[in-house]
Amino acid sequence: MNHGLSLKIGPATFRIGSAWRQPVEALARLYADYPAPADGIADFTVRLEPAGPFRRWLRPSIFITGDHGLADAAPMSLAHGLLAAEMGMNLQMALGWRRHLLLHASSVEKGGRALVMTGESGSGKSTLAAQLGERGWRLMGDEFALLDLETGAIFPFPRLVSLKNRAIDVLAAEAPAGRMGPLLAGTAKGDIRHLLPRSDAVERMNEGALPALLLFPRFGHESDVRPVGQGEMFMRLTQASTNYVALGEPGFAALTRFVKTVPARAIDFPSGEEAIALVDRLWAEWA
């Protein structure tokens, strides 16, 4: 393809090809400190292709695909090329990763132990992880937590944090401007801005941590903490995993162990500050 870039995020490596220069340039700037794949060979190929015969030049529009793709993926504007590249990498992980149980969850680490947070889009798990990552925790990832099938440790996937709508201002107030990506206005999910994790997150991208606490955050409600039973935890985590079925028995065994050994709480919070206070309290109590 005309423009390309290879990079390593946690245990996974990507080769990204693009018909246009802009998405690759935006990636190269934000991922400048990330390593290249060790021997130049990538786990996954991502392709940003013109969405139709003339769509490279005329109202340029991107079709996201690669080793794994969705035939009915909606085309995206070239102005959102950085987001397209991120989505392309996420797609490969969601559909193709087999070396860990992949949980749709954010995770942060402190003192060698991991806090995992899972929930639907809009639950606040991503924003909360990004905020903790600015306040003394190591950000392990805002999208995918990788559960090791043998050791039960959580491994990081510290890609750029994807901040949406109101979360953009929250993090822009805490993180230096140099770590913020361009504002991508009017995407399918509203306004999006990417945040480059702190350097410790990038430097320690190969370092896992045993999970000490699982939270199910929910933004926009009065503060509350509820216990979550192992059965419910198991069911919600199978729904939050894209490769649970594909992994078969090892996936079942890893998830069973996780559910049996990690305490879980559902937390509601009306604001980021209250969420952080809640997390600090529960962490002191359980971890």
Binding site: M1, T13, R15, G17, P37, A38, D39, G40, I41, A42, D43, T45, R47, E49, G66, D67, H68, R98, R99, A246, G248
Partner: protein
């Protein structure tokens, strides 16, 4: 770059020793795009490869094992659903190869479950599958009627609980195609795999695979089908195959499949001009896994429709689909 890189690696896995990083990236992307990564992983086996490649090949082998396990379970469920009908249920394609332990099944990607049943039993089979939890995928009355009137299979069904598709064939080519293979003979000569499940005899397996590749469809993903044929030809008696192919009206297609399989995966063969055009279509894949030679691909897409139906019917069909908003890609 073309998929010759992939073809060479399958033919002679020792040659991967010479690949650099760019070569490996290209080979892996091509193999995934052609759904041959599991086959490639098994062909490469324990030969030394870079660490990153080893991890990818190990994943591919595990995926292929899971595919086979799921496919066999699906076949078992279908056999159970149809047990009361007293029919031979003939497995086709990937599931048959996996169930019978054929070399063509090793590492093979297996999508849907394909079975062949006598045409007279179609209604019974349909009802039995619906009772066992399968349901229709196509909700368009035109598509449904089209399948029932003109195709060689029922409209596809999916199992509500397991989310797996089944294609119920009553012959091997659309009824509108120019060749009319003898499906009754295929069923009569089928061989048992288990108590309930059968597969085609060796010659019919080649005839079916060749018909599927060369007399139907647009050859997309054809390198995988040709690899099947190459494996299925192993140990077969050429004279018996020739007789059988003529009986099904597929002599020309089977001979072409033999030449192409030998040229790409085997010891080589003399190719006609038409063979070379087909080979160019099969190899139209670049190092990013993209389909190349779009115009040639489109020509084969048009041809696939031309093969399927006479011109007036084709015009009517395309007009109906166009009105419904369908556009060729």
């Amino acid at each position: 770059m073309t998929a010759l890189l992939l073809v060479r690696a399958l033919r002679d896995p020792d040659c991967v020793a010479a690949l650099d990083a760019r070569g490996w990236n290209s080979l892996i992307a091509m193999a995934r795009a052609e759904r041959l990564i599991g086959t490639l992983a098994l062909r490469i086996g324990e030969r030394p490869v870079p660490g990153a490649v080893r991890a990818i090949l190990t994943d591919a082998r595990a995926d292929a094992e899971r595919e086979a396990r799921q496919a066999l379970w699906e076949a078992d469920r279908a056999a159970e659903a149809l047990a009361g009908l007293g029919l031979p249920v003939v497995l086709l394609k990937g599931t048959a190869y996996a169930a019978a332990g054929l070399s063509a099944g090793q590492g093979r990607f297996i999508g849907d479950l394909d079975i062949l049943v006598p045409r007279a039993a179609l209604t019974e089979v349909e009802h039995a599958l619906i009772r066992a939890g399968w349901e229709w995928v196509k909700d368009d009355p035109y598509d449904d009627a089209y399948y029932r009137q003109w195709m060689h299979e029922l409209p596809p069904m999916i199992h509500a609980g397991r989310d797996r598709m089944i294609d119920v064939h009553h012959t091997v080519l659309p009824l509108t195609a120019r060749q009319t293979p003898d499906a009754a003979a295929m069923i009569a000569d089928a061989l048992p795999i288990t108590n309930e499940l059968y597969m085609l005899c060796p010659e019919d397996r080649v005839c079916h695979a060749a018909a599927h590749l060369l007399a139907d469809g647009d050859l997309a993903g054809g390198l995988r089908n040709l690899w099947d044929i190459y494996c299925l030809l192993d140990g077969i008696d050429p004279a018996a195959l020739s007789v059988r192919a003529e009986r099904h009206g597929l002599g020309r297609h089977v001979r072409q499949a033999q030449r192409l399989a030998a040229a790409l995966y085997g010891e080589g063969a003399r190719l006609t001009l038409w063979d070379r055009i087909v080979a160019a279509r099969l190899l139209a894949r670049d190092g990013w896994g993209r389909e190349r030679r779009k115009l040639l691909g489109f020509a084969f897409y048009v041809r696939s429709h031309w093969l399927r139906m006479p011109p007036a019917m084709l015009a009517r069909h395309l007009m109906t689909k166009w009105r419904k908003g369908h556009r060729p890609v």
